[in-house]
Symmetry: C2
Subunit: 289 residues, 2 copies
């Protein structure tokens, strides 16, 4: 049943911890070893039985592992890769894929055939291994971005890892991934931070939050996400984020003109189109519940 | 126990229907009569026992009522007021209060002493009387915007109506209400519509929705709200919406500059400040659950 006898997890945050918990819950491997610079995270994971052993270095964690999962902030991947031989089966979970490719090129000269870049579309505004959830990936999508050199068996094994955790795996190019995620995730987070910051710098911010009805409450939840992680993601995906941000700002300027001009019909056209798109796609997604 | 023997509800949508259902559930009145131009809505409410009788005109609904609740789109309030004598106890639920004051001045020459403008901070992206919910106002805020001429007994009775439905009542000026709501509700809805519209007009919008993780999903829910109602709200509160929109767009431009300049520290300062504000206020609200 299990493809892996020893899995090494580098970086025990929400995602690394959730993969460990999910592997344990489903008995998909014999041994999980983890490395994290925070001893506290390793201790928490050991105590809860999420991992079987804690390594004191990346080299020790990786040694003998038949799968290495890198779950660290996107901009620190390069320093991790320096400790990992190029012939080990490796996957990662970074929210932006181009910096992973760039790091591979810097460290190895190319993306190793046994390195399958990946990104589970699952998360939470909660952070850290304490928030790990063995069912986090169930009924979620995982995007893999192999290239033409990727070893077919490596790709199959990484795909089966995620499928065994309950996820649906899709493949796309690195550039396409980074563009889609800029739109569906990175821009929304940027807007949420900006909105909460704008409103809380207004006169009486206590009052603002007190009267926050549905609308603002939904926005503000994602503004509770880790600021350092999101700083890195936005920076790492700068060009794609700027591209969609500019389209959004241009639409906002158009809407502003409609409001100033008192063009009720123009406003309704936009609102109606948005509602139809949303309703259409949320119906298509109905089976997911 | 009950302050009212006969309550007339003008407009049987989500809010009017929920008030009717809440009054019935709590047995707070002897008779609820409703008027709505849609016979279908009246029939639904009669069949479910939400209302006791349906009136064929506003005049008939109001006759003999000791409280009239107007729950119609904000820009149609003036035509409703034309059918209501100035000495009846009236309250409304419009999301913008200045147009209600303006309508009173047009129809009566001033805000009647027995008219207490109100706004329950409760809603849903669902619409119509079929979505009515007897517990919609429980643990929610209701804002009343009386002026110095408002009759004290009328104010007391409207306040007690909402308190009996489980809400917390606060009072503020019309101008302040419209400013606070522009920030906490109207701007977030505008952003949600704009974001969904921007993204769904991109290349493959099916794909965009398919990979919409937490962030975008939260935004897109409020873009399912009634486009006509929101067109009216945004128009009715134009100046306050533009004021906060301009502050928001200016912050977005600053963030854009930080991304283009690769200023990671600058980005983190904003994200961190937003997270702290959000965490601080969500803790304060904890008791509400």
């Amino acid at each position: 049943m299990s493809d892996f006898s020893r899995v090494a997890i580098i970086g025990l945050g929400l995602i690394g911890g959730s993969v460990a918990a999910a592997l344990q819950k489903r008995k998909l491997t014999e041994h999980i070893v983890a490395y994290d610079p925070l001893k506290e995270s390793l201790d928490t994971a050991l105590q809860s039985g999420m991992i079987d052993s804690a390594a004191t270095s990346i080299t020790k964690a990786v040694s003998g592992a038949d799968l290495v999962l890198i779950a660290v902030p996107v901009l620190t991947i390069e320093t991790i890769l320096r400790e990992i031989p190029s012939d080990v089966l490796v996957t990662d979970v970074a929210s932006v894929k181009q910096p992973v490719i760039d790091a591979c090129e810097t460290v190895y000269g190319a993306v190793p055939k046994t390195l399958v870049p990946g990104h589970p579309i699952a998360g939470s505004e909660k952070q850290g291994v304490a928030a790990a959830n063995a069912d986090l990936f169930e009924q979620h999508k995982v995007i893999l971005t192999p290239n033409t050199d990727t070893d077919a068996e490596s790709l199959r094994r990484v795909r089966s890892l995620w499928q065994n955790l309950g996820a649906t795996v899709v493949e796309m190019s690195v550039a396409h991934h980074d563009e889609v995620l800029a739109q569906t995730s990175h821009l929304p987070h940027l807007l949420a931070y900006a909105l909460v910051d704008t409103l809380s710098s207004q006169g009486d911010s206590m009052e603002i939050f007190q009267f926050a009805a549905g609308g603002f409450r939904d926005f503000s939840r994602i503004a509770a996400s880790d600021p350092t992680m999101w700083r890195d993601i936005i920076q790492a995906n700068g060009p794609a984020v700027i591209a969609i941000l500019d389209r959004f700002l241009s639409e906002m300027e158009d809407l502003r003109e409609l409001i100033v001009a008192g063009d009720a019909e123009g406003l309704e056209v936009v609102f109606q189109r948005a509602k139809e798109a949303r309703d259409h796609f949320s119906e298509l997604k109905e089976p997911r519940g």
